[in-house]
């Protein structure tokens, strides 16, 4: 080949790769969270933590503008088209019926009043899925706390939030200022979020009445108590439920090249009864 053609070959190929790379990145725009474990208030084996493999999680909850994009390309999920099989009739009630959320100032608010089915479909459309309950709770507790006191204060604020949230005035994603140590934002303080398995098998004999908290573990710790509120709230939903305080974010499987990560445990058990210090 004449030397001069290389001049054009290279930039073209570069262009190709840049495009391709951005495609790959858009497909899984999540933050990678390394494998680890955490103590759940509903463990499968009492005393044993739940293990979670490496996965990717969206940095923020899905926003109004992102969900609108999904509706534009998949109008069967818009309020006027969606069958009763997939959502109650308050689905996206705060949006206009043609699938628009109204004022552009609402673009970055987390989308709410979406059912599990529509959240699951959105994540499938993005090449991913909803996070599992364990993945979500694991990601949520990957927070930096300098002392147990700081953790308690945070958890106590959290319980206050669960009983005082103003579901009429949600704030934009990122606005809580709460980030886990990998930069995943607003796992608390913004909206409750759908997970893949919000009614885990271990809870199938729980009738969600007074005795339920007694069946949960670790609720003497503040964080565990707040966690139990989340579990109970999620377990009360049906897949067609929608509320003004319920949104979601997507998860993605880690690419195969991180096979070597499997088996690692960066065990940071923040809400175990014997509180281990963070490192």
């Amino acid at each position: 080949m004449k030397p001069v053609t290389f001049k054009f070959l290279l930039p073209t190929l570069l262009l190709f790769f840049l495009q391709f790379a951005s495609t790959v990145m858009a497909q899984s725009a999540g933050i990678e969270l390394p494998a680890g474990s955490f103590h759940s208030v509903l463990p499968e084996v009492v005393g044993e933590p739940h293990r979670v493999d490496t996965f990717l999680l969206d940095e923020t909850a899905v926003t109004n503008s992102q969900f609108r994009q999904f509706l534009m390309e998949n109008p069967r999920w818009s309020p006027s088209e969606i069958p009763a099989l997939y959502a109650g009739n308050r689905y996206l009630q705060h949006w206009s019926n043609d699938g628009n959320y109204g004022d552009e100032s609402l673009a970055d608010l987390p989308v709410t009043r979406v059912s599990w089915y529509s959240a699951n479909a959105y994540c499938g459309w993005k090449g991913g899925r909803l996070p599992t309950l364990n993945e979500w709770e694991y990601a949520a507790q990957l927070m930096y706390f300098n002392t147990p006191q700081e953790e308690n204060l945070f958890s106590s604020e959290l319980i206050g939030w669960y009983s005082a949230v103003d579901a009429k005035h949600t704030k934009p994603v990122g606005s809580t200022g709460i980030e886990n140590r990998y930069g995943v934002k607003d796992m608390f303080g913004l909206v409750m979020e759908w997970v893949e398995d919000f009614k885990p098998p271990v809870a199938s004999d729980l009738s969600l009445d007074c005795g339920t908290v007694g069946r949960m573990q670790g609720t003497s710790s503040m964080y565990g108590y707040a966690m139990s509120v989340r579990y109970i709230t999620r377990m009360s939903f049906k897949a067609t439920s929608t509320t003004g305080m319920l949104g979601f974010r997507c998860a993605y499987n880690a690419p195969a090249k991180t096979e070597s990560n499997r088996g690692q445990s960066s065990a940071l058990m923040l809400n175990a009864p014997d509180n281990q210090p963070n490192n």
Binding site: V4, F8, Q19, T23, P75, P83, A121, G124, P201
Partner: protein, 206 residues
């Protein structure tokens, strides 16, 4: 030289729209909307996922309009209850009156989106001696499998070792795609279920 320059630029330009298309998974066919509106409110035909079977064919639930469908969820590498569940499904299927049976289809859906490719499903079907007309072993993308499980009421969880913990369920959809019957677990007789399917034909599907 000019000529080559142009070729490369043209190639680059041609490649860009192709890449833009790959930005999102190919979205579903929305022209089926009008048909969708006529399905019963609780019909599973509203689900427009595309399932790939062991022969590489594409199936949608709505393809079964007008006939009952037996649905079961399993996965190929399962050594626990799945073999029993699949055998149970066969027991149900073969228990149906022979004149009616060929109008009943079975859809066996795999949890294992990674390993149970159409190829692997073909091998599985042959191994189980169930690569027969009327039986489809299918796969789809992760979120579609999850959606079907939610609609049917099947709970499942992927473990770190790639295996799945799951509940056991055989579901029968009626001719409109609504759930007619659910048979949980791996114990108990299925003759009532077979009778119910036969009765469908006697009353609705003359």
């Amino acid at each position: 030289m000019q000529y080559l320059k142009r070729i490369f630029l043209l190639l680059g330009l041609l490649l860009m729209p192709l890449l833009a298309l790959s930005q999102h998974k190919m979205t579903m066919d929305d022209a089926g909307l009008d048909a969708a509106k006529t399905y019963h409110a609780e019909s599973l035909y509203h689900m427009n996922a595309e399932w790939a079977n062991q022969n590489g064919e594409t199936i949608q639930l709505a393809d079964y309009l007008g006939q009952p469908l037996v649905l079961v969820m399993f996965y190929g590498r399962c050594t626990g209850t799945c073999p029993v569940l699949i055998q149970r499904t066969w027991k149900l299927y073969s228990g149906i009156d022979v004149d009616i049976r060929d109008r009943v289809q079975v859809l066996a859906v795999s949890f294992d989106y990674k390993n149970d490719t159409p190829q692997a499903l073909k091998e599985y079907a042959e191994h189980e001696q169930l690569d027969i007309p009327g039986w489809n072993f299918v796969t789809a993308q992760q979120s579609d499998i999850r959606e079907l499980a939610m609609l049917l009421g099947v709970q499942y969880r992927e473990r770190s070792d790639g295996h799945f913990e799951h509940s056991n369920l055989i579901t029968v959809l009626d001719a409109q795609g609504k759930i007619l019957l659910r048979s949980e677990g791996i114990k108990g007789g299925l003759s009532d279920t077979a009778t119910t399917i036969e009765e469908l034909f006697k009353s609705d599907l003359q």
